[in-house]
Symmetry: C2
Subunit: 203 residues, 2 copies
DNA sequence: TGAAATATACATTCATGTATGTATATAATA
DNA sequence: TATTATATACATACATGAATGTATATTTCA
């Protein structure tokens, strides 16, 4: 085969991306070759090199697809849409739900968090992800600080400390979920996890 | 050069391991070649192949060095050394401190958590690590269950839920710490993080 | 007919594994 | 104790395969 219509070309492009996602998930990014991707997509490497510069370029395309959900969350908090802890909890639950049940998003986040090792060639992706994290950290710090001044939440810990804890909790929750869905019961209890974090466990 | 004394051989072996750890940390496991390791250790690949079967074998050796701290923690809880939440918190703080400040342990855990992507060739390591996690999950579940029956902690959530949350929190804490030491203030506040998790944040 | 969308072919690099060479530590022996 | 044999601890060289990138051929749309 050779040249196809513009729509067909767009289709092969999508096939390549889909194949890449599938393989990245199953084999990990670094051990997936362009040949693997091509075969899985039913094309040759020629097609891949037409649409993409290299493997990193494919990855960039994949990650650009979902505006980082963490980032969205940060924006909402910055935009002052959350007034109370209850609001924040609802936001968090929504974001979790969104990431977990939107298969495409889940797959992509899973690749970022568990199928990519921290090496030079992928540094940019981690940096970008880290920027989002920092944004969220700052936003929630400010948020908790406000609540502390209002007297809504305890001042036993600094706002930043609480924000950082929350952030690590969420990160760990997702990472463990993607690492082994069986052990973390996130799908059935995502709301509860959020509640646990903010609840008083001790009587 | 050629044959050296048994002590010298042991030394080169250690050099190889140290070089590997250093490079795995800096470049990630998959993009580190045996040649990189050899050069960095001041030997040739011949030396590496004398001491190890392949890269995976080096990794296995590295991981076997530290008995997984998570595992140790689980054992202590199973052995009933923790009677109260206070005990548990102290245990957790100790484990955290141990992992963070023992550079060797920190490096190795960092490799496991952030420098290794989840692919077929490394599946065994993740499995082993996961077994430890499950042990800890079971142990803490039983622990929290006891405390709930005693009435020491809230019964609003299932013991397993609380255990899983704690587990994800710890995992996230370490992972984020290793990903970027700057953003997580674990070194200066490791105790506080533990306190935050068990504290009542809401007034 | 020209350019777009691929396949094909090829050149190159690179990592791995293995085979072999070699010097020497160590043990056996006399 | 001196000598010899052998296993050890590497270095070197090579063979191979695999992944990549690129150049070119091929088809076909527009």
């Amino acid at each position: 085969m050779a040249r196809k219509s513009k729509e067909d070309a767009e289709e092969t492009r999508k096939n390549i991306i889909d194949s890449a996602i599938e393989l990245f998930l199953n084999k990990g990014v670094s051990s997936t070759t362009l040949n693997d991707i091509a075969e899985n997509a039913g094309v040759t490497r020629g097609a891949i090199y037409w649409h993409f510069k290299d493997k990193t370029d494919i990855l960039a395309d994949i990650f650009s697809e979902v505006m980082n959900p963490i980032d969205t969350l940060a924006r909402e908090i910055i935009n002052d849409e959350a007034k109370t802890i209850l609001d924040l909890k609802e936001h968090l639950k929504f974001v979790l739900k969104d990431i977990i049940f939107d298969k495409r998003k889940a797959d992509i986040m899973s690749i970022l968090l568990t199928r990519l090792d921290y090496s030079d060639q992928y540094k940019d992706f981690f940096n970008e992800h880290n920027v989002s994290h920092c944004k969220l950290l700052d936003a929630t710090s400010i948020f908790f600080d406000k609540l502390q001044k209002k007297g809504t939440i305890s001042t036993k810990f600094s706002a930043r400390m609480i924000a950082s804890s929350m952030h690590c909790f969420l990160s760990g929750l997702l990472t463990e979920h993607f690492r082994s869905e069986k052990d973390v019961m996130l799908k059935d209890h995502y709301g509860e996890y959020i509640e646990v974090f903010f609840a008083q466990i001790i009587n």
